[in-house]
């Protein structure tokens, strides 16, 4: 008989404790992010598709050594360069990334000795055609500099 009443009181008390928790949570500020109105800041280790790192003048640091191209297991990267007057080594003319095949392994970023590529924080990708995911990273960098 004592256990019966004890169970009723402890059970009822636990219900009150639960209700006090929810009412306290209700007075706290909301934690959700209003996505289309506010974009979230990506964490430092987030891996978007790769991008070229701008140097001080807004150009790129690429020396067209081709290490990224060779290290890529999926062969998504095509780098083209040309010899120019007054520049040691080659200058980058085209950096093509086929993001449809990229697995974000990061071998290219690791193998790049001058540190010319890094992961972007771009997470808003959407498209209806395959071509929308084949990027020219040099053009992208130039557009960012505008």
């Amino acid at each position: 008989m004592g256990a019966y009443f004890k169970e009723i009181f402890t059970g009822f008390w636990s219900l009150l404790v639960g209700m006090s928790i929810t009412i306290r949570e209700m007075t706290k500020p909301v934690v959700t992010e209003q996505y289309p109105y506010e974009a979230s800041v990506m964490t430092s280790r987030f891996r978007g598709h790769i991008e070229l790192v701008p140097n001080e003048e807004g150009g790129n640091k690429c020396i067209v050594c081709g290490m990224c191209m060779r290290s890529c297991p999926s062969a998504c990267i095509t780098v083209e360069g040309e010899k120019r007057e007054g520049i040691k080594g080659k200058a980058l003319t085209r950096y093509r990334l086929d993001f449809t095949r990229c697995s974000l392994c990061g071998m290219c970023v690791e193998s790049c000795r001058p540190g010319a590529i890094r992961f972007s924080k771009d997470y808003n990708l959407a498209g209806t055609k395959k071509a929308a995911y084949i990027f020219d990273l040099l053009k992208r960098l130039e557009e960012q500099n505008k």
Partner: protein
């Protein structure tokens, strides 16, 4: 036109508008309450604070097609949503919003409300059975056994109240509670268990209206949507509005029986505002409970009724009888 006819029409329109607006905006309040308990914002896109959301939802429901699947009972399938809504609106007839604001101040008001409230169960049963759907039938069976289990402690508590008040007229019951010390929830001279009686009544009204944590009838993880699985458009809409109208009725009854109805706690400015304030506080509690507790299991639900609520309410009945005889 004679004034009695105008009075009838005014109350008819007023009650239907009150029930429909409550159903619409309680959905908004429920979604907002749920959101803030879970630290979200809730509806915010349609109108300021999402206030036009219920209107938009209503228009959406009304413009959708009413699908009548093959194999359903054609008459009962159409009748069930109406049976869910009409008794809820009928029950508003005797609820005293203030001393004068009551559609029909009849002497058996309390009895009438319980008579109509039990029709609601019939609506769920018919809706589930007529749907010709296994989930709907299971849900209907659950709703009926649940309502039978919870009608008993509720009615025993109401009998206790009627023994104390000596009347079934809701306006007279309110008139007997002019200030907070005379509210029946604190009337310890009638029975020391009055707050417990209020709790039993409140829990039973939650279970009677199939609200969480007793919403086994529409346990969506097991039964899709329960008795209204096959209903679309306003068929579903009427079940939904009926549910919210029943919550308003249950909370109104709790306010009238235990919390002094339209009376001011200090006996100063009694009026309809006090009734609405108490009513919405109770409704908020209902929403708060829904978003705090998980759904009970079926045996837990029946155990609570048969092992705790019925013995306690019976004990309270005997105790009250003893107190009334001795003092």
């Amino acid at each position: 036109m004679d004034s009695e006819l105008i009075r009838v029409i005014a109350f008819l329109v007023g009650i239907i508008a009150f029930a429909a607006l409550n159903a619409a905006y309680l959905v908004w309040l429920e979604r907002k309450g749920a959101a803030h308990i879970q630290r979200r914002i809730g509806p915010k896109e349609v109108g300021p604070f999402g206030l036009l959301q219920p209107m938009v939802d209503g228009i959406k429901l009304m413009t959708k097609q009413i699908l009548i699947p093959d194999g359903v009972d054609p008459v009962l399938f159409r009748l069930a949503p109406i049976l869910a809504m009409v008794p809820a609106i009928m029950s508003f007839v005797t609820i005293p919003f203030s001393e004068t604001l009551v559609a029909r101040n009849i002497n058996v008001g309390l009895l009438m409300i319980f008579a109509f409230a039990s029709v609601n169960v019939l609506a769920l049963l018919l809706g589930g059975w007529a749907s010709n759907n296994k989930y709907a039938v299971i849900s209907a069976a659950r709703a009926v056994s649940q309502n039978i289990a919870y009608e008993i402690p509720m009615l025993i508590t109401v009998i206790t109240m009627v023994m104390i008040t000596g009347t079934l007229n809701l306006n007279e019951i309110v008139a007997q509670q002019p200030n907070i010390s005379q509210w029946y929830i604190f009337r310890f001279s009638a029975s020391p268990l009055m707050p417990v009686a209020f709790l039993i009544f409140f829990i039973c009204s939650l279970a009677e209206t199939n609200r969480a944590p007793f919403d086994l009838g529409e346990a969506e993880s097991e039964l899709v949507a329960g008795f209204h699985t096959e209903y679309s458009s306003m068929g579903f809409g009427l079940f939904f509005m009926g549910e919210y109208a029943n919550i308003v009725i249950g909370c109104s009854l709790a306010v009238v029986l235990f919390l002094g109805g339209w009376q001011d706690p200090f006996g100063l400015y009694p009026g309809v505002w006090w009734f609405l304030l108490k009513l919405y506080l109770l409704i908020f509690t209902v929403i708060w409970i829904r978003w705090t507790f998980p759904r009970t299991q079926f045996y837990g639900l029946l155990n609570l009724s048969w092992k705790i609520l019925i013995p306690v309410s019976m004990f309270n009945l005997l105790l009250t009888a003893g107190f009334l005889k001795v003092f």
